[in-house]
């Protein structure tokens, strides 16, 4: 039996990940430490290295499939070594089993699911994963009718979209891009957010002149400054650093600010842990390092905290203001507009100022409007008087 | 010229006696040569040597006609020769090549040659005896003049099949002659250990048929006794049990260690059936030393030619194993 390749825990609290891509095909040689596959977790795409040297013997979880932390994704070993196909379903082993044991979707591979032969065949024919089907037969066996029901549900949900697509295709040629990997995760998370959060967006303008002046002495980005300012605002308004966990509001002691950036594989969230306790310079250095790693796809997210709040900069692309979407289960997201010279009234006179709109979307289920505006004002205050951030 | 004492058959001519001698000699030469080839690894199997017992098969089969049938025992090689099977044919069977009579399905001593009146015996000692009775009954029901001759050893006469078959043959008046080749050993167990009687022929009385003890080393005596029994069967008078007292000079099979008393083997070797007839032929001026030598050389030459030819034969196509399990192909059986 070769060395099993397992789904790593790439961040605290990570319970499942999606295999985005295998960089080697079964039969190819791999060296220990060499990049072997990409995993998508939360919003991050992480490159994972081979656990041993040898040949990639078998892939148990193909690209695009989700697996629990500790699940065997494949094996590395000597060519010809026998690997137990059945072992591919050894999902969670003792120490790597996530604490808390919250109910998760069954991420075990299909081989181990109890299913009648016809159910197995039908699921395969329809491209359905047995793991996603609830078994209603004796001892939880997935029956033929369970699969038929799953097929029916999928077809019904796809029906409207398909009809629209068909009309489109009749009119003109279209290109279809499969919704998978990070795109799929994005889609699901955005929809979840819009479906669950009572989101409200509120906007303030910030005079960025002081920060601009600061940048002439200390080379930091506007984003770093906003992260620092936000972290301080969050200290004052902890409700925006909270997450909603079903029936409870969870107030987080650590202020971990996520920064949404575009990377080679799409949107990725980098995290500055305990941002309120770091200097602006530290934050800036850390952020630059993470952005570089994200661009190279070599982000190591092990032991990195899950963000409690997110900052997103749309201004770099030229946007003036926008309504960012909360990254659930967080309760707020701060969007940065373009920093630009604008006529402003200062001491009764119209002068050329440097202004940026800060757009806060917050979950009105738990955040009061006054809290939200108060937070924005605090952030604005820090940015307009950077000394407060020193 | 059938007599009250069961002796029958026509008067044997000079030619008959020389031919009987030749058949016994051929059997001996074949056996000894095959054992050497087996030892050398040239043949995939040995045989159960009939050396010492040649007079039984030759004598019993010599006078049989084309309508008659025999089922040899595993040691009755002489039944094949006497019914006209060639050494090449039996070598083909031993090699299991495509020219063999069963095309490789079974070996020489379980071979059947229907066109020469030979039914294959099974590998179950005594199992062929009731089959012979059934064959005889069929001959009778079909109105054939044919008689069935069933060969078996002293060991088989202890099997239930022997007793059931003799009883059935007697009650059904089947035209069958039971030829027991009593070579005094059931493989390694002495006949005296396996049965409490001296003469197996005595068992016939229990089934209401004649039983005769015959000198199994005297081919003419075997011939005459068998012909008497065959005549009786042909006339519809029912079966006969002949017990031919004989002895095998070699172990049961090449791999068997010889544990029989050496002096017993020696004593029987003095009654070598081939030498006994040979002496008579010489005394009567029918076949001299030179003639015997030439005869043996001719047999050896045929044998050498046969092995060459047999070895040159192609082997059967492996797929032939599916043929003749049933009339239909095996896959037609569904499972």
């Amino acid at each position: 039996m070769g060395t099993p390749i397992k789904m790593p825990r790439l961040s605290k609290g990570m319970e499942t990940g999606t295999v985005l891509e295998w960089l080697k095909a079964p039969g190819e040689e791999v060296r220990e430490g060499e990049p072997l596959f990409h995993v998508l977790t939360e919003k991050a795409d992480v490159e994972v290295q081979a656990p041993g040297s040898g040949t990639l013997l078998q892939v148990a979880v193909p690209a695009g499939e989700e697996a629990g932390v500790g699940a065997v994704l494949g094996w590395v070993g000597e060519p010809g070594e026998v690997v137990g196909a059945a072992a591919s379903g050894e999902v969670k082993e003792g120490p790597e089993r996530p604490a808390g044991g919250k109910e998760r979707s069954k991420a075990g591979s299909d081989e181990r699911r109890k299913a009648s032969p016809v159910a197995r065949r039908l699921a395969s024919e329809h491209g359905l994963r047995l793991a996603a089907i609830e078994g209603s037969g004796p001892q939880g066996m997935i029956t033929k009718s369970d699969v038929e029901e799953a097929v029916r549900i999928r077809e019904e949900s796809a029906l409207g979209v398909e009809a629209e697509d068909e009309r489109q295709e009749q009119q003109d040629q279209v290109e279809r891009i499969p919704l998978k990997g990070i795109r799929r995760v994005m889609a699901e998370r955005m929809a979840l957010s819009k479906r669950t959060a009572a989101d409200v967006t509120t906007v303030v303008d910030v005079d960025m002149g002081a920060v601009q002046a600061l940048r002439e002495h200390v080379a930091v980005t506007y984003t770093s400054a906003v992260v620092k300012a936000a972290s301080l605002g969050l200290r004052k308004h902890p409700i925006l650093n909270a997450t909603l966990d079903e029936e409870e509001i969870v107030l987080h002691k650590g202020i971990h600010v996520g920064v949404a950036v575009d990377s080679a594989r799409g949107l990725t969230v980098l995290t500055i842990a305990d941002a309120d306790q770091k200097s602006l310079r530290q934050i800036d250095d850390e952020l630059q390092g993470l952005v570089e790693a994200a661009k190279r796809g070599t982000l190591q997210l092990e032991e990195v905290e899950t963000p409690t709040f997110t900052v997103t900069n749309s201004g770099v692309l030229g946007s003036l203001m926008f309504t960012p979407i909360i990254n659930p289960p967080q309760s707020g997201i701060l969007g940065m507009g373009k920093v630009q010279e604008t006529p402003v009234v200062r001491d009764g006179e119209i002068v050329v100022g440097v202004v940026m709109y800060l757009c806060l979307t917050y979950d009105h289920r738990i955040v009061e409007g006054a809290e939200a505006v108060g937070f924005l004002q605090a952030v604005k205050g820090c940015l307009e008087d950077p000394v407060r951030m020193m | 010229m059938d007599r009250k004492d069961g002796i029958g058959g026509r008067e044997l001519t000079t030619k008959d006696l020389v031919e009987m001698y030749r058949l016994m000699l051929q059997s001996r030469c074949f056996t000894e040569q095959v054992l050497v080839w087996y030892e050398e690894g040239r043949l995939p199997q040995g045989l159960h040597p009939s050396v010492g017992q040649e007079a039984v098969g030759v004598g019993a089969c010599y006078g049989l006609g084309p309508d008659d049938w025999v089922i040899p025992s595993l040691r009755t090689a002489e039944a094949f020769w006497t019914r006209g099977v060639t050494m090449l044919e039996q070598l083909n069977a031993m090699l299991g090549n495509a020219a063999s009579v069963s095309r490789g399905k079974e070996t020489s001593h379980h071979a059947g040659y229907p066109e020469r009146g030979i039914l294959a015996g099974t590998g179950i000692v005594g199992g062929s005896i009731p089959v012979a009775v059934g064959g005889a009954l069929a001959l009778k029901m079909r109105g054939s003049e044919g008689v069935m001759v069933s060969f078996f050893g002293d060991g088989a006469s202890n099997r239930g099949d022997f007793h059931e078959a003799l009883n059935l043959a007697a009650v059904l008046e089947a035209p069958v002659v039971f030829v027991c080749e009593n070579n005094l050993y059931a493989q390694t167990v002495p006949a005296a250990v396996g049965m409490a009687i001296e003469d197996i022929a005595d068992r016939a009385m229990g089934y209401g048929m004649p039983g005769r003890v015959v000198d199994g080393q005297d081919v003419v005596a075997v011939y005459a006794a068998t012909q008497g029994a065959v005549g009786r069967a042909r006339r519809g008078e029912g079966p006969t049990l002949l017990e031919c007292k004989t002895y095998r000079f070699l172990p049961h099979y090449p791999i068997f260690e010889e544990k029989r008393p050496a002096e017993e083997i020696e004593r029987w070797r003095e009654r070598d059936p081939i030498e006994m007839l040979g002496r008579r032929l010489e005394e009567e001026g029918l076949l001299d030393e030179q003639g015997k030598l030439e005869m043996e050389e001719a047999i050896e030459a045929e044998l050498q030619e046969a092995i060459g030819e047999a070895e040159g034969m192609p082997m059967p196509d492996p797929q032939e194993v599916f043929e003749n399990v049933y009339r239909e192909p095996v896959e037609a059986m569904g499972l």
């Binding site: 009648s116 032969p117 016809v118 159910a119 197995r120 065949r121 209603s136 037969g137 004796p138 029956t143 033929k144 009718s145 369970d146 | 049938w69 009579v101 069963s102 095309r103 399905k105 079974e106 379980h110 071979a111 059947g112 229907p114 066109e115 039914l119 294959a120 099974t122 590998g123 179950i124 199992g127 062929s128 009731p130 089959v131 009775v133 059934g134 064959g135 005889a136 009954l137 069929a138 001959l139 029901m141 079909r142 069935m148 239930g160 099949d161 059931e164 078959a165 009883n167 059935l168 009650v171 059904l172 043929e323 003749n324 399990v325 049933y326 009339r327 239909e328 059986m333 569904g334 499972l335």
Partner: protein, 325 residues
């Protein structure tokens, strides 16, 4: 159409074949003067005489061996072994002499005999064994197990005309069953199953006396809205695999019913064959066997329920496989 009992249908088959072909003869214990313990050979002695209707001594091995020899030399013997339990005595002749005759002679000779035998069902420990699986295991033998009078006649005629040795297994419980039987001689081909009940939900394969049990269960289950397809293979060798596979592809569920012991029974072979076939991908539930659980058939009726499969057992097995959606 005229009706006959199962044993009468068999008797008619023998009489018509003996009329048609003078090579056909019957032999066995108590079959001539007595006409057979269950009257299957009644009247044959009077019609055909003692040469062709032979009372034999109690020599099961001997008479089967004799039949093999007669068959090899051109006759068409039909042997009766009074109870199937007694066939154990004749096993060498069946397995070695009869089954392999065609093979060792490479087809130059063959042994077209029929061995008729019978299971008492609820007799004694030594007369109620269902041993068909033994024979299905032997290359060269065909195994026939008719379940009603029509098949009894048609299959026996086929068996007699068949060029290979046939083990023809009757059942005491069936002898008194009446059914329509054509007067003319006819054949039911070996290897063709029939479907006494058609249904879409569960396939029940049963043979011999269990066909009636399966039919009764199917009728009861029809009231519950469960459609049971009963397949009677009629012959186990050759076996109508295609029919069973096609049915399981339709229903997705299979129950096999036989009176014989489950362990090593022919039902295991049927189950294996189905899982090896394209029907595997249609199976919705485990295959269930209803069979003797592995005990001798006891004499006392009090002990029968667990030992002998009945309608309730079949219904239970069908409901069980229906639970798998």
């Amino acid at each position: 159409m005229r009706t006959l009992r199962y044993n009468q249908a068999l008797c008619e088959a023998l009489r018509q074949e003996m009329d048609r072909d003078e090579r056909v003869f019957v032999l066995g214990e108590d079959i001539a003067r007595h006409g057979g313990v269950y009257r299957v050979t009644e009247g044959l002695l009077e019609r055909f005489g003692p040469e062709r209707v032979i009372d034999t001594p109690i020599s099961e091995s001997g008479i089967v061996g004799l039949a093999v020899g007669a068959a090899l030399l051109g006759m068409r013997p039909v042997v009766e072994i009074q109870f199937m339990d007694l066939i154990t005595i004749a096993m060498d002749q069946i397995v070695n002499s009869a089954a392999k005759a065609r093979f060792v002679h490479d087809g130059a000779l063959h042994a077209p005999l029929v061995v008729r035998t019978m299971n008492l069902g609820k007799g004694t420990v030594y007369s109620s064994q269902e041993l068909e699986a033994w024979f299905t295991h032997v290359p060269g033998l065909k195994v026939v197990m008719p379940s009603d009078p029509y098949d009894a006649k048609g299959l026996l005629i086929s068996a007699i005309r068949d060029p290979d040795p046939v083990i023809f297994i009757e059942h005491k419980a069936l002898y008194r069953i009446e059914g329509e039987v054509e007067e003319e001689a006819y054949t039911v081909p070996l290897g063709q199953a029939k479907l006494p009940r058609e249904g879409d939900d569960v396939t029940v394969v049963a043979w011999s006396s269990m066909v009636g049990v399966a039919e009764a269960a199917a009728d009861s289950l029809a009231d519950e809205g469960i459609g049971v397809e009963v397949i009677d293979p009629r012959t186990l060798v050759p076996f109508d695999r295609e029919r069973v596979v096609a049915s399981v592809c339709k229903t997705g569920r299979l129950v096999i019913v036989h009176q014989a012991v489950r362990r090593g029974g022919f039902g295991a072979e049927v189950a294996a064959a189905v899982t090896e076939s394209e029907a595997f991908g249609y199976l919705m539930a485990p295959i269930r066997r209803v069979a003797n659980p592995g005990v001798p058939v006891p004499k006392s009726g009090a002990l029968h329920p667990p030992a002998l499969p009945g309608e309730a057992d079949v219904i239970g097995a069908v409901r069980d496989v229906m639970a798998y959606g």
